[in-house]
């Protein structure tokens, strides 16, 4: 019974679905399996995937950060503006990352010190950071980033012999770190406790506020870094870079079975969710499936991600009840 139920968990199901989609792609679609395409397909979701990692931790702790995409945009705009005014790239990156930390601190401060709900706060900073991005860069687009750095972000540079690009490699490393933190450390346990029952966590001596603040800071930092990667990858800094990514990040995390109410989910699920969205998009596009159909598929997957486990447990409960009735009457 219980191993069966374990296998039917949604995050496992997303993993299986991911493999199935991948294998289907290999079998049916020309050009899907090529090194170039795979490198591209994964690299194309690198920023969303990077931001999904801290977002997973946040959502497990019952919080959310809707300002990630705006922070990406602000970081991109800043990178562009500073580069254009002659700063050295080696100076720009730390400065931009610091801005990310500051943005995260603001979110975290408003949530922990002022005591506002994170959804409300980050809807505000979503507008604020995006607004600052357009203040910084206006409607300009900055290009001509240094090839020495740009080449590390693009999909044509891969780890020799593989289709793994450097942003993706970074993602893999960070995903492992995040998985260990979430599932094998005391901090991870605390995150689950905070998400499931904040009061109880606080009464157990867990430093709830400090941990939340830390999470927001890390999210800001990673989003700012994603902004740098994005800028280099497209070779174009614009204030509207990555607009709307927040929904994509959240959709991937939710698709991976992370409970938005906090306290439940696995990092594996979130990673599988991100990759599934990326691979599916690539595969559907290769097969000339119209964009609107892709949008519908994303929606259906999200609905299925919560409906399927529900149906499965209803059915198994029902079967169990029948079995119990049978034994007690027999």
């Amino acid at each position: 019974m219980s191993p069966l139920r374990g296998a039917l968990r949604w995050d496992t199901a997303v993993g299986v679905l991911l493999v199935a989609v991948f294998v289907t792609g290999l079998g049916t679609t020309d050009g899907f399996a090529s090194r170039d395409n795979l490198a591209f397909a994964f690299n194309d979701i690198a920023e969303v995937a990077l931001m999904a990692l801290p977002m997973t931790l946040l959502v497990v702790a019952g919080q959310v950060d809707l300002s990630v995409a705006s922070m990406l945009g602000l970081s991109s705009a800043l990178t562009g503006q500073l580069w254009d005014s002659g700063w050295a790239f080696e100076t720009i990156v730390p400065v931009v990352l610091l801005v990310g930390v500051a943005g995260g601190l603001l979110n975290g401060w408003l949530v922990t010190k002022v005591g506002l709900p994170s959804l409300a706060v980050t809807i505000g900073t979503l507008a604020l950071y995006r607004g600052l991005a357009s203040v910084v860069l206006g409607s300009n687009a900055i290009t001509d980033f240094p090839e020495t750095y740009a080449k590390w972000a693009v999909d044509t540079t891969t780890i020799p012999g593989t289709f793994i690009t450097y942003p993706v490699a970074l993602f893999i490393v960070l995903a492992v770190v995040a998985a260990v933190v979430l599932h094998a450390t005391g901090l991870g346990r605390s995150l689950f406790a905070i998400g499931a029952q904040e009061d109880a966590a606080y009464f157990a001596g867990i430093r709830v506020k400090r941990i939340k603040l830390l999470l927001f800071v890390v999210t800001g930092l990673v989003s700012a870094f994603a902004g740098v990667v994005f800028t280099l990858r497209y070779g174009s800094a614009r204030a509207d870079n990555g607009s709307g990514f927040e929904m994509l990040v959240i959709a991937s995390v939710l698709l991976g079975g992370i409970d938005f109410d906090g306290g439940k989910g696995t990092l594996f699920g979130a990673v599988a969710g991100v990759l599934l969205i990326g691979i599916l998009k690539n595969l559907l596009t290769l097969n000339d499936v119209a964009n609107e159909v892709q949008v519908i598929v994303t929606g259906l997957l999200l609905v299925a991600s919560v409906l399927t486990p529900r149906l499965i447990s209803t059915v198994s409960e029902w079967r169990h009840r029948r079995a119990a009735a049978a034994t007690s009457s027999g």
Binding site: D30, G31, F32, S34, D36, N37, F40, A41, D44, W83, D84, G86, W87, A88, F89, E90, T91, G138, S139, A141, T143, D144, F145, P146, E147, T148, Y149, V154, D155, T156, F230, Y234, G235, S236, R238, D240, N241, G242, S243, G244, K281, N282, T285, L286, D288, A290, N291, E292, V295
Partner: protein, 343 residues
Amino acid sequence: ALAVTLAGCGGTTKKDSSDNGGDVKATDAKANPDAPLKKGLKLAFLPKQINNPYEKIVDDAGIEAAGEFGGKGKEVGPSDASASSQVSYINTLIQQRQDAILIAANDPNAVCGPLKQAMKKDIKVVAYDSDTAKECRQLFINQASSEEIGRSEVQHIAEQLDYKGEIAILSATQNATNQNTWIEFMKDELKKPKYKNMKLVKTAYGDDDDQKSFQETQGLLKAYPNLKGIISPTTVGIAAAARYISGSSYKGKVVINGLGTPNQMRKYVKDGTVEQFSLWDPKKLGYLGSYAAAALASGQITGAEGEKFKAGKLGEYTIGKDGEVILGPPTVFNKDNIDDFDF
């Protein structure tokens, strides 16, 4: 290289990278003007946004044109017009080994990398409607020369107003490059002595938002009681302005001209609010793009200045500076011809 630059000046700055990213376009291939158009060419149209009504017309016409010379066209694209969203489609088109990509770029630079890759793989790239950086495509099909659009707008409205009176411009956003170029040419044209009795009082911005443009029109008419004419070189603006005026007391007293689509403007031309307006035929734009791409893919042209190719029923075109091909002067629509068009 990294070590050198670091040692050299303590960091990588913009100055160091000016000669980065060499020219990929180095096409050694010679043009063969007599080569026949290849059969079964695969052309892909990549609009700014798949739901843009205007680009839909362009692309449909292009796809139809491809049928004429035995090619196959298709339209793919994102549903949001952000800078980056076109990139994954370019990649896909490369994987699908299309013969040519026709793109209306959302961002001249963000699409550059993948387009260069496409050209490396011998996929021809033609920009239309909105150009990419020059080195990232072989041709740009320009709907009309900017100078011609700007000057002709002024000429048209001047004729309607008998060369006297106050006029205003209702533009899109403050940063729209093509709008601003046109407005510069309009101002330049107005400097000519024959317009000495005309005065440009204000340039308003409706942000290509129907409601905003509507309100801006209202504002213009309130603020400048002697206003005699409005030029709106944007399809959203001219339609909103016409809608406001047709339902107001200004109808018949204020002239509206600019760029609009016949379907949007038909009602106002028929009810007399608007006498005439202009636009290039987006169908012809698509048609020309399709033929240009086919000519490239068949080796008739390479994209060099001065080369010539035949674009079906539109006749012969010559490639101008920087690989630009100009569709031709805009069509002027009025009561007599508007029913011949449906877009």
